[in-house]
């Protein structure tokens, strides 16, 4: 951060800022397309989701503007318009996010906002954008509630919600007919953990009606110390242990659980864990079953588009892209396609929020992680295929590979448009195509 | 014998091994001006603290206005009409002298109002009047932190008097005041009290002060009353000479 030296004069910042926006606000009306990208740049979620996502966004903005992305994404910028991105930290709570969202639209005059990892933030900003009638893409957050509780005109989510993650986990166990008599749970004590635990439990009720829940542990978010929980897991080992832990918490849990043999006594199944593999390396025990919230990273499908993306990202950041990066990529690609379609419909002129929304609604596009289709939530909620695999350390490459990968088509693990995910699971996955 | 302002019977108080009050009995008729003397640790201030509810006696009764006040806290006792000043003046250092007086007036109201302005002209003039009686008018607008010790002492007493107490206890009003200042100061205090029908009990080390201003002197020694008579008699008393004044004078020097 070269600019930190300016900080001691907050007044100056405000003034400089004021001048700055006075200068640019009207100027780039036509030839540039401004996007606001919001994700965690500080706090627990920065390392695992926020920063990979922002890195992906930066990389793609460059590549798009240089017109170096493969067809059909090879037009410069968005249909010739140079992309200009503003990055905002998602840390600080929903209040701050709504405020920043309004600032982005009104003060920074952005044409679209992509972002939000936290479900709480998504729930908060969605109505705000809708009310302002401004175009918003939620790229990552998990809760199904967003489009199940109400419908939106201007808000989209370009990735499947969290129900898919746990349904596919259950299906993987069933498909590999892994016997399950008892289940232990360890999930963070906040909505993500609660919902994941519930989704998996309901799924298992359908697939393994006789399986019994034993321990249902709820360590607090950011606990860091799992000694006590691990003892609890060991004192009543279950056939499988389910967890939706992520980021630092998951890494700490694995570092502390592996030496104590949790993974030896019980099959560990993780709903969203691929992002910890590059870091953990050989500290990740073999045979752990995990998902990536999509067909991402080492489980991404073979395709020229994916090869391009995988190597592009790996070259730039010398670590391969994982879920957050993929999810940002599919959001950016979806926006690019929508923007260019809307532009065409608009006679080559820059589209407004309505036109962008119209273009994205119900559309579908190829992404590194597979085909994205905006079919749920009345054309506003994407469904996508996903994959589950098993960890196996690869000494030559010095990285954790994923083996026994099994793919699940979108309709197999996502609820149909007319059903809430929870009802769908309870209905025994009515109409699921596997 | 006229009605009693204060009567203490069989007061006992000890801190661990130290006995601060052993069977203390005092009866003080309304309007009298009594001085408590005794060397440091003799039990004077302990007595004051028991009367004002700061300390609870281990045994004995304290009647004020014919009512037993043992077990009541300082606030309740103050509300009954007992006020005190402090050896170290207890003031709001960061406020002006006038504001301190207004605080005293505000507290005297019991359940202070949430909306009546504390600095209304009426209140100010009442406070100023009292300040003038203590010759403090010139300091009214100065912050207490900047005022000299003697002035703080007077202010401390003026605040105590604001609530129109029936009984006023002064804890060493002239301690830490220079020899030249002490008589003018006592004159000011006595002058200020003149108007009020208030019984005064003051702890004092200085025998000249005692002889000049007290109607009656009560001498303490290691928690016991060893003499209780008009000044001359007490100061003539053998024990007092041995245990109090002699030591006292040296202790003070």
């Amino acid at each position: 951060m070269k600019r930190t030296w300016r900080i001691p004069k907050p007044g100056a910042i405000a003034i400089a800022a004021a001048i700055g926006l006075a200068a640019h606000a009207p100027a780039q009306a036509q030839e540039t397309f401004r996007i606001g990208v919001v994700s965690f740049l500080s706090g627990q979620a920065a390392e695992s989701f926020g920063i990979p996502a922002v890195n992906a966004a930066k990389l793609l903005v460059e590549t798009f503007n240089a017109g170096q992305a493969p067809a059909p994404y090879d037009k410069k910028g968005f249909g010739g318009m140079t992309i200009e991105a503003i990055y905002v930290d998602e840390a600080g709570g929903a209040t701050k996010q709504v405020q920043e969202l309004k600032n982005l639209y009104d003060r920074e005059k952005v044409d679209a906002v992509l972002g939000y990892v936290s479900s709480g933030d998504c729930l908060a900003v969605a109505p705000a954008a809708e009310e302002m009638k401004r175009f918003l893409i939620l790229f990552d957050c998990g809760t199904p509630r967003i489009f199940e509780e109400r419908s939106y005109e201007y808000v989209f989510r370009t990735a499947s919600h969290a129900a898919m993650d746990n349904v596919s986990l259950g299906r993987y166990l069933k498909a590999n007919n892994i016997p399950v008599e008892t289940i232990n749970y360890i999930n963070q004590d906040y909505a993500w953990g609660h919902d994941s635990q519930k989704d998996f439990e309901l799924t298992m009720k359908q697939l393994y009606p006789e399986a019994k829940t034993q321990q249902d542990l709820r360590p607090k978010f950011g606990a860091g110390q799992y000694g006590t929980e691990i003892s609890a897991l060991l004192s009543r080992p279950a056939t499988i242990t389910h967890s939706s832990l992520w980021g630092g918490d998951l890494q700490a849990f694995i570092l502390q659980a592996a030496p104590r043999g949790v993974m030896k006594r019980s099959q560990l199944v993780l709903s969203a864990a691929d992002h910890v593999l590059p870091g953990l390396g050989d500290k990740m025990p073999d045979g752990v079953i995990l998902g990536a919230r999509g067909a991402y990273g080492l489980m991404s499908p073979e395709s020229p588009l994916n090869d391009w993306w995988f190597s592009l990202y790996e070259k730039r950041y010398d670590v391969y892209p994982v879920q957050a990066a993929y999810r940002m990529a599919q959001a950016m690609l979806g926006l690019k396609q929508a923007a260019e379609k809307a532009m065409a419909d608009n006679g080559g002129r820059k589209p407004n929020s309505e036109q962008l929304a119209a273009a994205l609604k119900g559309s579908q596009w190829q992404s590194p992680g597979g085909l994205i289709r905006m079919v749920n939530g009345n054309g506003h909620q994407a469904i996508q295929e996903t994959a589950i695999g098993r960890t196996k350390y690869n000494p030559e490459k010095k990285r954790v590979d994923l083996v026994d990968i099994m793919r699940f088509p979108a309709e197999c693990v996502n609820p149909p448009p007319d059903m809430k995910s929870e009802d769908w699971i309870n209905s025994g996955f009515k109409g699921a195509k596997c | 014998m006229s009605e009693l302002a204060l009567s203490a019977r069989g007061l006992m108080k000890s801190f661990g091994a130290v006995v601060a009050a052993r069977d203390v009995n005092i009866e003080i008729p309304v309007g009298q001006r009594v001085s408590l003397i005794g060397s440091n640790g003799a039990g004077k201030t302990t007595f004051v603290n028991m009367v004002t509810g700061y300390l609870r006696p281990d045994a004995g009764t304290i009647h004020f206005d014919g009512r037993d006040i043992v077990g009541l806290g300082p606030r309740r006792i103050t509300r009954l009409g007992v006020a005190r000043s402090f050896q170290i003046p207890q003031l709001a250092l960061d406020m002006t002298a006038l504001d301190n007086m207004l605080v005293a007036a505000a507290c005297a109201e019991g359940e202070p109002s949430f909306w009546q302005p504390a600095r209304s002209p009426a209140r100010r003039s009442r406070a100023m009047a009292l300040l003038e009686r203590f010759a403090l008018a010139e300091h009214a607008q100065r912050r207490v932190a900047e005022l000299p010790g003697g002035v703080r002492k007077l202010l401390d007493i003026a605040m105590a008097l604001t609530g129109r107490p029936k009984l006023l206890l002064l804890d060493e009003p002239t301690s830490g005041v220079s020899v030249q200042e002490k008589f003018p100061m006592m004159d000011t205090i006595v002058g200020a009290l003149a108007g009020e029908s208030v019984t005064v009990l003051f702890v004092e080390h200085d025998m000249e002060i005692v002889t000049r201003y007290a109607d009656r002197v009560v001498a303490f020694y290691s928690g016991e009353i060893i003499a209780d008579d008009p000044p001359e008699a007490v100061l003539a008393d053998e024990q007092v000479r041995r245990y109090v004044t002699g030591d006292a004078v040296r202790a003070e020097a």
């Binding site: 930190t4 729930l123 908060a124 302002m132 | 605080v103 507290c107 909306w115 609530g163």
Partner: protein
């Protein structure tokens, strides 16, 4: 009515009128920012009310959340839409929830008061986090309120700003009147010398409890106001960092001026908003430095720039000595 009171009311009314006028000229983002500054400022105003009696609450998030959730539930469960009713509900709920704690907390001072209030707010945070019915940590959304039965859509930003200015303006005026009142002066004296206040016949605990409840009402209204403007609520309302910001604004403002609280609140919102945008990955650093600069160079707060006529505070030693005497 007393002269001072009249003066306060007139001055307050003038400020409110000016702010309303200014609102007409503000862009939406500024309107929203100002609304936030006001709705957070009124919570800090509560902290200031407590500060005047020498105690600081690190748990105002408790009443902030109480007010917010109360208003949200009243709106969603009972379908009450009127903004003013919801604000009232928020304030009342916060007071009711604080009532049991008031006598307990009145026994504590300094760091212990701060930490106990913090503990209370964190327990509420935990409860909210776990209450699935309330959306857990994700919280839930509330639709736009109405005003006197009329929909406010379209001009929502301005109307909400207006409501904030008027309602909080009234509360601020009331607070100022309280500050100048007999009881207000007693509070100030408690901050300086508790013991003497008791010896003058006033109840310190009752005074502190009263301030705590007043602060609770202000905080509750602030929470409800934030909810209305935001349309969303979640347990972060009760998190300790939220409470920390209220204290920060209170310290920044100092306890000499009511207006200063809102100026401070506004400055903080602006600094946060711009540093967040212009230094996305070092905005915490910016806030921290800003905080330090303020505490260092405005020891008695912004308000001391205009409202505090008196010279510097007594030297620390003296203050300490007094505190000792008070114990």
């Amino acid at each position: 009515m007393h002269a001072t009171t009249v003066r306060t009311v007139l001055a307050g009314g003038l400020v409110v009128a000016l702010l309303l006028a200014a609102g007409l000229a503000m862009p939406d983002w500024l309107l929203f920012l100002a609304t936030m500054a006001i709705s957070h400022g009124v919570v800090s105003l509560g902290v200031v009310v407590m500060m005047r009696a020498g105690v600081v609450s690190f748990g105002q998030g408790f009443v902030f959340a109480a007010g917010g959730y109360a208003a949200a539930l009243v709106a969603n469960q009972w379908g009450v839409g009127d903004a003013l009713l919801l604000l009232l509900a928020g304030g009342v709920a916060a007071v009711v929830l604080s009532l049991p704690f008031a006598p307990l907390l009145a026994r504590y001072r300094g760091i212990f008061f701060a930490m106990l209030t913090l503990a209370i707010s964190m327990v509420l945070y935990g409860i909210l986090l776990k209450s699935v019915a309330l959306g857990g940590s994700d919280g839930f959304n509330v639709g736009r309120p109405t005003l006197f039965g009329a929909s406010i859509d379209g001009r929502a930003n301005f109307v909400l700003y207006g409501i904030a200015v008027v309602v909080v303006g009234l509360l601020a005026i009331a607070t100022r009147i309280y500050g100048d009142s007999v009881r207000g002066l007693v509070s100030l004296a408690i901050r300086e010398n508790e013991l003497r206040v008791e010896y003058l016949g006033a109840s310190v605990r009752r005074a502190i409890a009263a301030n705590y409840l007043i602060a609770a009402f202000l905080g509750g209204v602030g929470g409800a106001l934030t909810l209305l403007a935001l349309g969303h609520i979640d347990p972060m309302f009760s998190y300790w960092t939220t409470s920390g910001e209220f204290v920060f604004v209170a310290i920044l403002a100092g306890h000499h001026s009511v207006l200063a609280v809102f100026v401070a609140s506004f400055i903080v919102e602006v600094v946060r908003s711009f540093s967040n945008l212009y230094f996305p990955s070092t905005w915490q650093l910016a806030m921290g430095v800003f905080l330090l600069v303020v505490i260092r160079f405005l020891p008695r707060g912004l308000g001391s720039l205009w409202a505090d006529r008196r010279p510097r505070a007594a030297p620390a030693v003296e203050a300490v000595a007094m505190k000792e005497a008070v114990r």
